[in-house]
Structures are given as C-alpha cells and as structure tokens.
C-alpha cells in the first residue's frame, strides 16, 4: 500500500471553491500520483453532493467530514474535523489552498497534528528523491527554493495550478460523522454580495493602479489613459484598494477578480504573485513603474521605467497629436 497524502477541499454552502480543483491538478503531478494514495477531506454539513461531485470529477477518494456544527466555517470547528481524520489517515502530506479559508485552518492544523508547515508554495518538483518547492519573498522580487520534508502541511498559492478538467473518473466517497464536541466559536452563514466591477470581465483594455500611483489625484491620469480606448475599465491591486485609489470591487488578484483582457496596463504595480495570478492571462501587458527591480517587469511585454504620473500625461499628449 502506498503512503497517504491529503487535500483540504474548500466549500461554501455546499459549493466547491475553485482553488479545490487546482489542488486536484497538483495531486496529478506524476511523482505525486505515483507515490501517494490521495484522500480529499471536505468538511461541513450537508456536503454529500459536493463530495460526490469532487470524487466523480477527479477520481480521488473523498472523506466527507460531517457535523451539524460544521454548517458554517470556523477555524476551530474545521481544524477539529480535519485533525480527527488526520489521526486516522496518518498522511505524509496535507495540501491546502493559500486562501483566507485555507490560511485560517492549515497553520493551526500543523500545530495540532505536530506537522511541519510550508505555506504559500507556487511550484513543486522532485530531484534525486528530494521534494523542492518555490515561493516568493519581498512581494515577488525574490524566489525562495526550499526542501520539503514530511510529514508536512503545505499551502498552495491559488491561480498557479490549472483547474482540474479531465474525463470523468470515479472516486469513492466515505461519509465520516465527526463529533466536533463543544466549540466556542459561533460562525454565521456567509454573506454574498456582488460588488461593483462586473465591467472588468468584459473590458478589452484594463488600466490598473498600484501602490506606485501614490494618491487619488493621480488616478485622473489613469482615467485619461483608459479614455483613449473603447471598452476600457479601471482596476487596481490590493494595495491600491487599501489606499482608497479604487473600490474593493475593482481589485484584481487572488482576493479580487481574475481578468484576461487583450491589453493590461499595470501602473505602479510591483507584481506580487497574488496580483499576477489575477491578470497573467492578459494578452499584452504594459508595465509602468519607477522601480526597475519590480517583478512585474518579468512578466510584462513592454515596460516603462518611470513615474506613473509623469509618464502617462506625456504619452497621452503624444497619442493625441497623432
């Protein structure tokens, strides 16, 4: 029998989150598929349908960890459910997503199960029987190569692995009734409220603001740039949203929207993995940034090393003269 490895599958209200399908692709990496027997852990209440869907689509065996107290997400309740399963399965590896829900449970689970913790991984390879992983430091300016030793819990950056999408297979589903016992947290149901910014999905050109834009007066330059194009929209990085330059609904990246316009202007955006995951499929990427070491210049098609607020007006004037 092969050693076991687990995936932590996120669901909200019985719907499997996109990042879970990416973890299924990770489990398909050749050396992982050959070395381990995979078990997907999905916790909640009334999740049988989601568990069956995941098993049928991926061929991975699913443990549905069910309890009334797991109806809504709490780190406390879910860690108790996963750790109960982990004690039984004794996996060499557990993979979770580096998302708000994944990062709420995985670090605590590492402590409870006394496993090493390797967060925020973007790539995994095996050389000479040693497992190497890569993750970024300093907002993407540096790559860190680490060796992964088992038993360990790893979190995987969303948007790095493709969404699992192969022919239908059939995995087994086991319903495991969990006795969560008493938990102190009282979680409410998630609240879904669509944000503004739907125009980003249809835009052919996106002019996106980052920390380097500096202040909201400078946003005028970005709006002027957008007005040179038809079907253009304004977006921004997480930092730009925090600075109040653009609404949170216009955030592009892992915690925001995933976009794929024909043309993407990254203005004053350094290019962290969390942002790049949201825009790397843009056909043409123009980066404007005064910091030449900004990682955005490693994925852009064309880059201008300059201050956003000084370059854009000169560019617009040039275009209008033509």
């Amino acid at each position: 029998m092969k050693p076991k490895a687990c995936l932590i599958i996120e669901q909200i209200a019985g719907n499997i989150r996109e990042c879970a399908w990416e973890l299924a692709s990770l489990a398909q990496l050749e050396f992982f598929r050959e070395t381990y027997d995979w078990i997907a852990l999905i916790a909640g209440n009334n999740i049988e349908r989601a568990a069956t869907l995941f098993a049928e689509k991926t061929g991975i065996e699913v443990y549905a960890l069910c309890d009334r107290l797991l109806e809504n997400f709490s780190g406390e309740g879910f860690v108790r459910a996963y750790s109960t399963a982990v004690q039984q399965i004794k996996p060499y590896f557990i993979f979770a997503s580096h998302t708000p829900l994944g990062c709420d449970v995985a670090p605590a689970l590492a402590i409870v199960c006394n496993m090493d913790y390797f967060p925020s991984l973007q790539c995994l390879t095996r050389k000479n029987e040693i497992l190497f992983a890569y993750r970024e430091r300093l907002n993407g300016k540096i790559n860190e190569e680490i060796t992964i030793t088992e038993p360990a819990i790893c979190t995987i950056m969303p948007g790095v692995f493709p969404i699992f999408n192969t022919a239908k297979l059939s995995g087994k589903v086991s319903i495991v009734n969990i006795d969560t016992g008493k938990i102190k947290s009282i979680p409410a149901a998630p609240n879904y409220s669509p944000q503004s910014g739907a125009e980003l999905s249809n835009a052919e050109v996106i002019v996106s603001a980052g920390r380097g834009v500096g202040n909201s007066e400078n946003m005028e330059h970005l709006r002027n740039l957008a007005s040179l194009f038809s079907r253009a929209a304004i977006g921004g990085s997480r930092a730009a949203c925090d600075m109040g330059l653009v609404d949170y609904g216009l955030q592009i990246g892992v915690t925001g929207r995933i976009v794929s316009p024909k043309l993407y202007f990254a203005c004053g955006i350094s290019g962290s993995a969390q942002h790049i995951a949201g825009m790397k499929n843009a056909r043409t990427i123009v980066a404007i940034n005064r910091d030449e070491s900004a990682p955005i210049f490693r994925i852009a098609d064309i880059g201008v090393i300059d201050e956003v607020e000084k370059f854009i007006p000169v560019f617009i004037e040039f275009v209008q003269k033509k």
Partner: protein, 255 residues
C-alpha cells in the same frame, strides 16, 4: 481589557537588495528603511480604536527581531501602545513561523490578555501563519482576514467579519479570550503626534534575550524569479518612451 498586539519590522517594499553568491541570504543596502509591517499597523490601530471605546484598556506590543526592531516598537508606543516587549535576536529570519508562534504563545501564557490581534500576514514573506498557530497553542478561538470588529466587553465576546473573497464575507462571534488577524484596509492607521513621539522616546522597552538557535531541517536558497517573457524595456527619455510605446501599441492595433 488587555490586548496583545504582535508586530514585525520589515524592509520597505522598494528596498534594494542583493542575494549572496551562494544564495543563502538576502542582503539589504545600508540605506534600507525599515518599518512596522503594514498589516501589523492595522492590527495596532484596531487595538487603539478599541481602547478609545473601552476604558482601562491596556495595549502591549511584542516583537521578535534584531536590535534595530526597537524602531518599530517606539513607533507603536508613539501611536499609543502602553507597553513594549522585544525578543532580541540577530538573526530573525532563521526562525520559522512555528518557532515564532511558540515564543509568542509562551509570552501570552505569562501575560494576562483578553484579546490578541495580529496582522494577517507580513509584507516580506506573506506566510499568514502566526495567528492561527498561536491560537492553537493557547487553545483559544480565532478568526483571520478580519475586515470589521466589534467588541462587547460586558458579554466578553467579539463579533468579527472576515473577507473570504471580493464578494463573500462571513461574521463570527468568539468568546474572549480570542485571537484575530486583521486584513489590510480594516482601518486607517494614525500618525503619531509629536508629543506622543517624544514620550515614546523615553518609555522603557522590555528586552528578552532569545538564546535558542532553532534547528532548521529545511534547506533554503534565494534566487531571482524567472522571466516568463522577454520584456521590451524602454530606457529612453520620457518623450522617446512615449513614442516607442505608441508605436508598439499601434503595431498591435490597440491605437
């Protein structure tokens, strides 16, 4: 109410650096500016907002860092924290999140607290691990990625709202003691006033020596990230660059 806020000092995001020839260390230039990790600044501001609403609130900030991380603690005192503790180590980077979480949870076991607030992640490594790890060590409830917080000191509970994604939020009620990690943008951190800054200069910072040298069983090497594209970099004058970008976009029928 006693609030512990755990903070980290990090280099400014645009700092210049070099990777040592064997890839084992990142060396920052001597002009590098260090500051409180911005997520931790949001954490401290949230504690300060609570202290304005709830009388007799004491805020204690704690950091693990080099001698010069004292700058971050002075800044925290100037913003309004009452006490500051500094675990001094000349090599903060060799401590893993788990090792730091153990040290900080030990601190919490020795200092009474009702609430622990941390930033969700650090700007330099973005591991987002310390908060839930500390809560697990202390067996207290926790919640991360918090964008709104309400404390009911009489019922001894908090109600926090987490951001799951751009359009999904979830509220959770936790009895105290509890731990929360705050997401960026939850508030607008204040600038210290001059009088607070002067006062903070004289305040004592309690130093705790960290003598243990953690065992590292994972090897690590730093590299520059790979290029996914051959980027056409414009290095001319502003006008030349404008023309070059225009021609580039024109050739691809965008203009």
């Amino acid at each position: 109410m006693n609030i512990l806020v755990f903070i980290k000092q990090v280099p400014h995001v645009e700092s210049s650096f070099e990777i040592s020839s064997n890839g084992s260390t990142i060396e920052f230039s001597s002009q590098t500016a260090y500051a409180i990790n911005s997520y931790d600044e949001y954490a401290l501001e949230e504690a300060l907002i609570l202290s304005e609403k709830i009388s007799h609130t004491i805020i204690t900030v704690v950091t693990i860092g080099r001698q010069d991380a004292e700058t971050a603690l002075r800044r925290a005192l100037a913003m309004g924290a009452h006490f500051a503790y500094h675990y001094v180590t000349e090599n903060e980077s060799i401590f893993s999140s788990a090792q730091k979480a153990k040290i900080l949870s030990q601190f919490a076991k020795n200092h009474p607290f009702d609430l622990i607030i941390t930033g969700t992640m650090s700007m330099d490594s973005a591991h987002a691990a310390i908060g839930p790890m500390i809560a697990a060590h202390l067996s207290i409830p926790w919640a991360t990625h918090i964008i709104a917080l309400d404390v009911n000191p009489i019922a001894k509970e908090i109600r926090a709202t987490r951001e799951i994604d751009v359009s999904t939020r979830q509220s959770i009620t936790l009895p105290l003691p509890a731990l929360i990690s705050v997401q960026s943008g939850i508030n607008r951190p204040r600038y210290p006033t001059l009088s607070h800054t002067l006062r903070a200069k004289k305040q004592e910072i309690y130093k705790i020596a960290l003598n243990e040298h953690p065992h590292q069983h994972s090897q690590c090497r730093f590299l520059l990230p790979p290029r996914t594209k051959e980027t056409f970099l414009l290095r001319g004058s502003r006008e030349e660059n404008a023309r070059a970008l225009y021609e580039y976009l024109r050739a691809r029928s965008f203009l």
